[in-house]
């Protein structure tokens, strides 16, 4: 909402600088976004008078003008414009002047003739013919008013008022108006709010004989109509055009400008219909019928539905109520008689209609927030007043006011103790009243019906435009913002509270710190992506991973599903880093994945994952497996198995394992399938682990239990074993474990060897076994027996000692 300071001064005597005003209004609750003055962009431009015009000696289109700029001697300015004559007044930018957009004007020679500045067009001053209807667009701006030469053009053209931009919160539609903001300004500055009450103007004839208004729509609370005939469409006077322009509204003609002016002043959108197009001399406020259509002012045909309110004549809709007029609802050169509409349409209804039609307009934006029906009549009166002042037509006597259920002022108790209790303050009731009354609230020393205790000694009568105020807390805000949010003290909450992170949060932090400690960088990626991501990781066509939550109105094409797997998100990160020539990547994300429920009305399941990804020197499958093993150890999870999985499509079928804890799949790990790498344009081998945080937490180990340090020495035995290439190390380890039983303290694979001497298709694995028992020193014989059992177990899968 833009507010010209000059307009506020119609209602309140405020002397201030824009900066100070912005600060005070912001702190009292009307947030100022900024302020601007058109004059700021224009410097050293004055009104000049053309004393003489001569053809440039060396050009067939340039003119050499002698211009009186209010100094002793006229100056010479060369111009290319063809619309000037002697005696014209026009803006002259002098040497060293500035024009909007930061353009600097300097003295210079034009084809040998020195020019001491520039005569300006509308465009060069950032103006249009809407602002100055008597000027032309393709030539120098010639003033239609007398001004002494040398007058600052900013002043002469009325560009020196300041427009303050407010951010109005949705609860204060009343502040989307000059009057509303003026009232806040007056209260902020502690000066009188000088409201203007427009009078019902007298007119010829009787509107009741010319027009009939019926409301059948339940979502219209009031409809006021007035009429003007012998309309004299013309440009509005300058003061009015200036105010509209400062509010960011383009001046059109006096009738349209009046509706806009009243909308700005009262915050109430108005409409003007051409009476000639009101069929049957009847205005019907009704819901649209089945299959009804309207061509709106913007020339688009729109299909209406029965939940949309229209303003119709006896046959067809003339406007979508509160949103936009129809094509025949405008003001034309031929317009003779007009009908002004000042109505109050239900906010939610207008909101839904505007949304359905995809048409958010200035009017709909205001109606949506809920307007005050009490304003309809003053707004119409104000419009008629302006018609009279501007001589824009002849007013027809009377108004039609259909207001079936007038809104009554709301009465609420003023409970000073409750307000102070909420605020933590000690504001007296007198002070509260002194704050409330200038804001338009009336406070009476009486109890509301049925309430007689001391708490209810006062009653607040809420003005109709402040329907946001309904209870103690609302009054508390009014009191607090005028006492000053920063004047009330800051206190420490009473009582004690103990808090600590939950077990899950502690575990979560421990896992993240572990991953970071292993050299992985934490990432944060978007939770959604396009379906193409599934193709990129060659996800199978079958559920459950494709059972995703779809966002029906995504931003553009791309983010359209909530990710059921975060692997593509991390691969995007890997690809981006690869393209940025990062040599080594080791990253992870603590990602949420979303699996939709069977019933689409139930909330989806949100799973927490760790996705790890790495490439680069030393970042191969085993390196990642080492990290995962360490992570599992940190989680206190023992006995997880890595089980080869050859079925996957995302991973390399020969380099993938499921991470199993008994029957529970904690996740998987593998090198990416070369096809997937190709889809992402990633050249180096890349490994990914996909681990459920939820399951890690569920199966986490408890507090470790102390075991006494060994008192007896250990025995070690090294075994060099030979077997077929296909035999899995995990199987060998399992058999060693089983054979050595409780005596086995630790088992380390310390060498893998392949060579011709072993024969093709064979490998040798060397293990170190540490054997110990807590009770006594083991004998050689006991150790040898254990090894014998181990070897017997291994023979069953054709693993033998290397000879």
């Amino acid at each position: 909402m833009k507010l010209p300071l000059g307009w506020v001064r119609d209602f309140a005597d405020i002397v201030t600088t824009p900066h100070e005003y912005a600060e005070r209004m912001t702190m009292s609750g009307s947030k100022v976004e900024g302020f601007e003055c058109e004059a700021d962009g224009i410097k050293n431009v004055v009104i000049g008078k053309i004393l003489s015009l001569e053809k440039h000696p060396d050009s067939d289109h340039l003119w050499v003008c002698s211009v009186d700029i209010g100094e002793a001697d006229p100056i010479v300015i060369v111009t290319g414009a063809q619309n000037l004559k002697v005696g014209d007044l026009c803006p002259a930018a002098l040497d060293g002047s500035t024009l909007p957009g930061g353009i600097k004007i300097r003295r210079g020679k034009l084809r040998g003739v020195e020019s001491n500045g520039m005569l300006c067009s509308l465009g060069e001053l950032s103006l249009t013919v809407h602002d100055f209807p008597n000027a032309i667009e393709d030539g120098i701006m010639v003033l239609d008013e007398e001004w002494p030469t040398g007058t600052d053009a900013v002043h002469a053209l009325g560009l020196d008022d300041v427009s303050v931009e407010f951010e109005i919160t949705p609860n204060r539609p009343d502040c989307l108006s000059i009057r509303g903001l003026a009232r806040e300004s007056a209260a902020t500055y502690g000066v009188e709010f000088k409201d203007h009450t427009p009078e019902a103007p007298r007119g010829e004839g009787d509107i009741q004989e010319m027009l009939k208004v019926d409301i059948s729509a339940p979502v219209c609370s009031r409809y006021v109509a007035a009429m003007v005939t012998n309309v004299r469409v013309a440009p509005s006077p300058r003061w009015l055009r200036e105010r509209l322009r400062l509010c960011g509204v383009r001046p059109i003609n006096n009738i349209v400008d009046i509706t806009n002016y009243v909308m700005l002043e009262y915050g109430h959108p108005m409409h003007a219909f051409d009476y000639a197009y009101v069929g049957g001399k009847s205005i019907q406020v009704r819901m649209a019928t089945e299959d009804e259509k309207i061509v709106t002012l913007d020339g688009v045909e729109r299909a209406l539905t029965t939940d949309m309110m229209v303003i119709a004549d006896d046959k067809v809709p003339m406007a979508v109520a509160g949103v936009m007029g129809g094509e025949f609802s405008g003001i034309y050169d031929t317009t003779k008689t007009i009908v002004f509409e000042g109505a109050c349409f239900d906010g939610p209804s207008v909101r839904v209609t505007a949304k359905k039609l995809g048409m958010r307009t200035e009017a709909s934006g205001r109606f949506e927030k809920g307007l005050n029906p009490a304003n309809c009549l003053p707004a119409i009166y104000r419009a008629l007043e302006l018609v009279k002042e501007l001589d824009a037509g002849d007013i027809i006597g009377g108004v039609i006011d259909v207001y079936p259920q007038p809104r009554l002022p709301r009465e609420i108790p003023l409970r000073p103790d409750a307000i102070n209790k909420l605020l933590g303050t000690d504001v007296s009731v007198e002070e509260m009243i002194n704050i409330l009354e200038p804001l338009g609230f009336e406070v009476e020393k009486k109890a509301l019906a049925g309430l007689f205790d001391k708490e209810h000694a006062y009653t607040v009568i809420v003005p109709p435009e402040r329907y946001d105020v309904a209870r103690d807390c609302d009054l508390a805000e009014e009191v607090c913002r005028y006492v000053g949010y920063n004047k009330v003290p800051s206190t420490i909450m009473h009582g004690t509270a103990t808090a600590r992170p939950s077990e899950r949060q502690i575990f979560h932090d421990k896992m993240i710190q572990a991953l970071v400690g292993y050299g992985l960088y934490e990432c944060e990626t978007f939770s959604f992506y396009g379906k193409k991501a599934w193709d990129n990781i060659t996800l199978p066509e079958t559920p459950p991973l494709r059972r995703a939550v779809v966002i029906p109105t995504p931003l553009g094409e791309d983010p359209s599903i909530m990710r059921p797997t975060a692997v593509p998100s991390l691969l995007d990160v890997v690809a981006r880093n690869y393209n940025a020539r990062v040599e080594e990547v080791a990253v992870f994300e603590n990602a949420t994945e979303y699996i939709s429920a069977e019933n689409p009305e139930e909330l989806p399941t949100e799973n927490e994952k760790f996705i790890l990804a790495m490439y680069g020197e030393g970042h191969d499958y085993l390196a990642l497996k080492g990290i995962v093993e360490q992570l599992l150890a940190s989680a206190g999870i023992k006995n997880a198995a890595f089980v080869r999985n050859t079925d996957g499509t995302t991973y390399h079928p020969g380099r993938t394992a499921d991470i199993m804890l008994g029957d529970v799949k904690l996740g998987c790990i593998g090198e990416l399938h070369p096809k997937v790498l190709a889809n992402y344009g990633i050249k180096p081998r890349t490994c990914v682990a996909d681990i459920s945080f939820d399951l890690l937490f569920e199966h986490r180990g408890g507090t470790p239990e102390f075991k006494p340090l060994p008192k007896h020495p250990a025995m070690t035995r090294d075994l060099a074993l030979v077997c077929e290439e296909e035999v899995a190390a995990a199987d060998i380890a399992a058999r060693i474990q089983k054979g050595a039983g409780k005596l086995l303290e630790s088992l380390t694979l310390f060498d893998i060897y392949r060579g011709e001497n072993l024969g093709t298709g064979k490998k040798s694995l060397a293990y170190k076994l540490v054997l110990r028992t807590a009770e006594r020193t083991l004998t050689d014989e006991e150790a040898d027996n254990a090894v014998k059992k181990v070897l017997k177990n291994l023979e069953e899968i054709n693993v033998v000692l290397r000879s």
Binding site: N171, E477, I492, G495, A499, P501, G519, Y521
Partner: protein, 340 residues
């Protein structure tokens, strides 16, 4: 005779001792003169042949020589060992300025680092940390927060709807409701998490960002408590000299509502490019929980009151590190992540 022999041993031994330049040579000397079969022992064996008067005199002399030699050998031995150690230390000198061996160490994402710090502060003030669903019911995201279907404030939060009743949460505030539904006051919680608005991606906007919601409900909680708590939080996060101010604002689920500004931490409030010359930086939105919200959750609004606040995490992280483009936070370029 014997005296002369003893003196000769002393002279010879001392001569040889001077020449001994290794531990082995010293050992040889020790054996030759002091050993069980050494020269001194040999002479002492002849003591029996001496007269009663000479015996103690010679004995004393022999012992004196033995002690002296032993001491000298030990001293020489230590001298040699010290020289050896000295030589070894010189020989083993390395370039201590060579780069250290690489240790793999990752880092948390920058805004997680900031979030960790904020969590610590709130935990210290007695706030529990809660988490809730990102795909949320309209009921929790709007309805219960005093924003019925037709509420104009809904327009300020461009929402991704999944179905008519389900959406991507636009704020972490639904956790207020979820908490109050199952927990009776006193309540002190924060809820950090991802939130979604249908904004296109640019340097300052993102369809996904992070918020920290806070909620306190108890008997006698006041607006001055809200001020005091948030002021304490900001001072702990940005330093004791930070000043704050509260501006009136509007949220449908709080009344009175406010926005809190902090004095610009870059210029200290004098005005600079970071605070756009204002000296203040907008940091969070807050307010007293609307009684209707309490009542929606079955909490008696006459007996209990509370306050709530919401903080944008990205903004705080970006300001802290001087990051000028929000997109960097979600691109995860390692050259970016390594910096924090």
């Amino acid at each position: 005779m014997m005296k002369q022999a003893l003196e000769t041993i002393r002279t010879n031994a001392e001569e040889l001792l001077k020449k001994a330049d290794s531990e082995a040579a010293l050992e040889e000397l020790r054996v030759r003169f002091l050993g069980k079969k050494g020269e001194l022992t040999a002479i002492l064996k002849q003591m029996g042949s001496l007269s009663n008067e000479e015996r103690p005199v010679m004995g004393a002399l022999a012992n004196e020589i033995r002690t002296a030699l032993d001491t000298e050998i030990r001293a020489r031995s230590k001298e040699l060992a010290d020289a050896l150690m000295e030589a070894r230390l010189v020989a083993e000198s390395i370039d201590v300025t060579l780069p250290g061996a690489k240790v793999a160490q990752g880092k948390r994402h920058p805004f997680q680092q900031v979030l960790d710090e904020m969590k610590e502060i709130f935990l210290g003030m007695g706030f529990e940390i809660k988490a809730g669903p990102e795909i949320e019911l309209d009921h929790y995201n709007f309805e219960m927060l005093n924003m019925p279907k037709s509420h104009p404030a809904r327009d300020t939060q461009d929402t991704f709807y999944i179905t008519e009743n389900m959406l991507l949460r636009t704020q972490t505030s639904p956790m207020q409701i979820r908490t109050m539904e199952i927990q009776k006051p006193p309540i002190r919680i924060i809820c950090p998490g991802r939130v979604y608005r249908s904004d296109a991606v640019d340097a300052t906007h993102s369809p996904l960002f992070h918020q920290i919601e806070g909620l306190v409900v108890d008997k006698g909680i006041t607006f001055t408590d809200l001020k005091g708590t948030l002021e304490a939080f900001i001072k702990k996060l940005y330093g004791e000299n930070t000043r704050v101010r509260f501006r009136p604002h509007h949220f449908p689920y709080t009344e009175p509502s406010a926005e809190m500004d902090m004095s610009c931490f870059k210029c200290g409030g004098k005005g600079c490019s970071l605070c756009k010359g204002e000296g203040w930086i907008e940091i969070l939105g807050c307010g007293m929980v609307h009684p209707k919200v309490l009542e929606n959750c079955g909490i008696d609004s006459e007996e209990f009151s509370g306050f709530a606040f919401g903080i944008g995490l990205e903004r705080i992280a970006m300001m802290r590190y001087g990051i000028d483009d929000m997109r960097l936070l979600y691109e995860n370029d390692l050259r970016f992540l390594r910096q924090f």
